[in-house]
Amino acid sequence: MKAYFGRRYMLSASHRLHSESLSAEENRAAYGKCNNPHGHGHNYVIEVLVGGPVAAETGMVVDLVALDAAVHRQVVDRFDHTNLNLDPLFEHLAPTTENLCKAAFELLKDALPGGELEYVRVEETENNFFQCYRA
């Protein structure tokens, strides 16, 4: 039987929303306070949902300890307590939460210890969040 196993992780990071293809004025218009040159930060929640058959021997879709290790290695350790703009992934890409969500999905999809990545959800604050699904 196919079921889904979900896990939530937290990481803290700073960022500045700024697009190379916009002028200084256009960046301020597009991103408002988020374009502050000194950046600002968030406590992000990364929610990962993994789908797959429930193994008869264990009753599990994926081993929680192994999943935690993979998500920490691929995503949490990479971004936690960093400036997202300095990560090579965001060298030429604004580190919006949409793009962070897509990046986390790409970093995780082939790195899971079992099952298939169903979605990655990133909560930037309690009031806004983004989900990236398997295409």
Binding site: A3, L49, E57, G59, V61
Partner: protein
């Protein structure tokens, strides 16, 4: 199509154990969850039904009715129980979060289908705020 979700909470104890394995193997795979004295959680159950709102009432289903179904089919069987020892579906199946979601679906599906008007869409079970499983009725 509207998806309507009702949340309910229950508290229960459990442990993970595969009787075909040695004690060492159980401890290696399940870690602290293999302690045969059990441990417990405050579970949160989210039951989502899908349907079209009734033109007269505006309801997909009556929430009070859904609350009663969850109470009668799930809460009365699992709340303040030891899942391995007292819930028949876990006599020979590990009460993992995944299996709890599947078992809750099986307990609820018949009552929701019998009512008509809506179908059970998903059952999500939170073991802690950071650990959850979902079942959508897939084979």
């Amino acid at each position: 199509m509207i998806f309507l979700t009702r949340r309910a909470t229950f508290s229960a104890s459990h442990y993970y154990w595969n009787p075909a394995w040695s004690a060492e193997e159980n401890e290696r795979v399940f870690g602290r969850c293999s302690n045969r004295n059990g441990h417990g959680h405050n579970y949160t159950l989210e039951v989502t039904v899908a349907g079209v709102p009734d033109p007269v009432t505006g309801f997909v289903v009556d929430l009070k009715w859904l609350k009663d179904v969850i109470e009668n089919e799930v809460m009365s069987a699992w709340d303040h129980r030891h899942l391995n020892l007292e819930a028949p579906e876990f006599a020979h199946v590990n009460p993992t979060t995944e299996n709890i979601a599947i078992a809750a679906w099986k307990r609820l599906e018949h009552a929701v289908t019998r009512q008509g008007g809506a179908r059970l869409s998903s059952v999500r079970v939170y073991e802690t705020p950071e650990i959850f499983a979902e079942y959508r009725g897939e084979a």
